[in-house]
């Protein structure tokens, strides 16, 4: 299922266009692969690969200072890497739009993913983020739209969490 071409990444990409997203920062995840491809091939977007997720928070703060909007794509484990750096977005009121693909949340095989996956939404809420949890692919784009509007109009951190229920679970098979 995760290998099939999905329509939700295309719909999310269209929302990025609608909201004039110019800088797409990411640490890759299998769940984001198709969306990343779309962003990489867009002429009016810059893709920035990160060594760690918290770099994206700084980059998007700088982008906003310079008049551009961006988005941060990551896997749920990356939320833990970001915690202190979230204070930059919060204390300054920088908009921070985050799309998180979940691991360790629903039927996970790798036990090492579970500790962070089980606290991802709570950690985000503790840092003051608005959180939308999406379990059905048909609601992904509308959640991104809602999060983008709240982030960019409200100067807030807004995260969309895409559940393993819609992404499928990594099965560790060739």
């Amino acid at each position: 299922m995760a290998d099939d071409r999905q329509t939700w990444p295309v719909q999310i990409f269209r929302k990025f266009k609608e909201f004039n997203i110019r800088q797409v920062t990411y640490v890759p995840d299998a769940g984001h692969a198709q969306l990343i491809e779309l962003c990489e091939s867009a002429d009016d977007m810059q893709s920035i690969v990160l060594t760690a997720e918290q770099e994206g928070i700084g980059i998007l703060a700088g982008a906003w200072l310079g008049g551009e909007r961006g988005v941060l794509l990551m896997q749920s484990s990356g939320v833990g890497n970001c915690v202190n750096t979230f204070s930059l977005a919060k204390v300054c009121g920088f908009p921070l739009l985050i799309i998180v693909t979940m691991r360790g949340e629903w039927g996970e095989l790798n036990p090492w993913q579970i500790p962070m996956g089980q606290i991802t939404a709570d950690v985000l809420r503790l840092t003051g983020a608005v959180v939308y949890e999406v379990t059905e692919p048909q609601f992904a784009a509308s959640a991104v739209e809602a999060a983008a509007r709240i982030a960019f109009n409200g100067g807030l951190t807004a995260a969309v969490l895409l559940s393993q229920r819609m992404l499928g679970t990594k099965l560790f098979k060739d």
Binding site: Q23, G62, L65, G66, G67, E68, L88, V91
Partner: protein, 199 residues
Amino acid sequence: MQAAAKLERRDVVARMLADRGDLLVVSGLGSTTYDCAAVGDHPLNFYLWGAMGSAATVGLGLALAQPKRRVLVVTGDGEMLMGLGALATIAVKRPGNLAIAVIDNEHYGETGMQRTHTGAGVDLAGIARTSGFLETTTVRAQNELEGGVTILRGAPGPALVVLKVSCARDRLVLPPWDGSFLKSRFRQALLGAESAHRG
């Protein structure tokens, strides 16, 4: 003789910000934020007071958004060490208008002057160079300062200059720390009032 030749951080930062023109400045938390304020507060200074390790990445996002403006990040050795991965990310993105000045006293000045890795041989200019920065150097003496400043202000980037300075503690000069104010003031000065208050 050796000790007498050490550079002083306030002189070095004053020199790199002299006649700044339309330069955009991002400073890292701690002493470099005070150093930039000591030269004179400016709406196009964005001072970090936290989020350690983020000065270089803020500079990167700004440089990509404003490719026609020179962006100068002024940060310390401790702050830069916490964001080493950013050097790789910047090198890969190759923003020609981004320069990073590391004011390196080889100590954590805010917390009791504990030694940082740069005092034990870690070479930040070397890390930047091998990551792919176009211009890197380490300035240790007065007669090398001019060359370092020339790189920071005008050489094709990404550029990183380490400036080895003394451990002297300077008078505290504290710029505003209201992040929301700093952000809006910067955007208004750069983008104009109309766009600054819209997304």
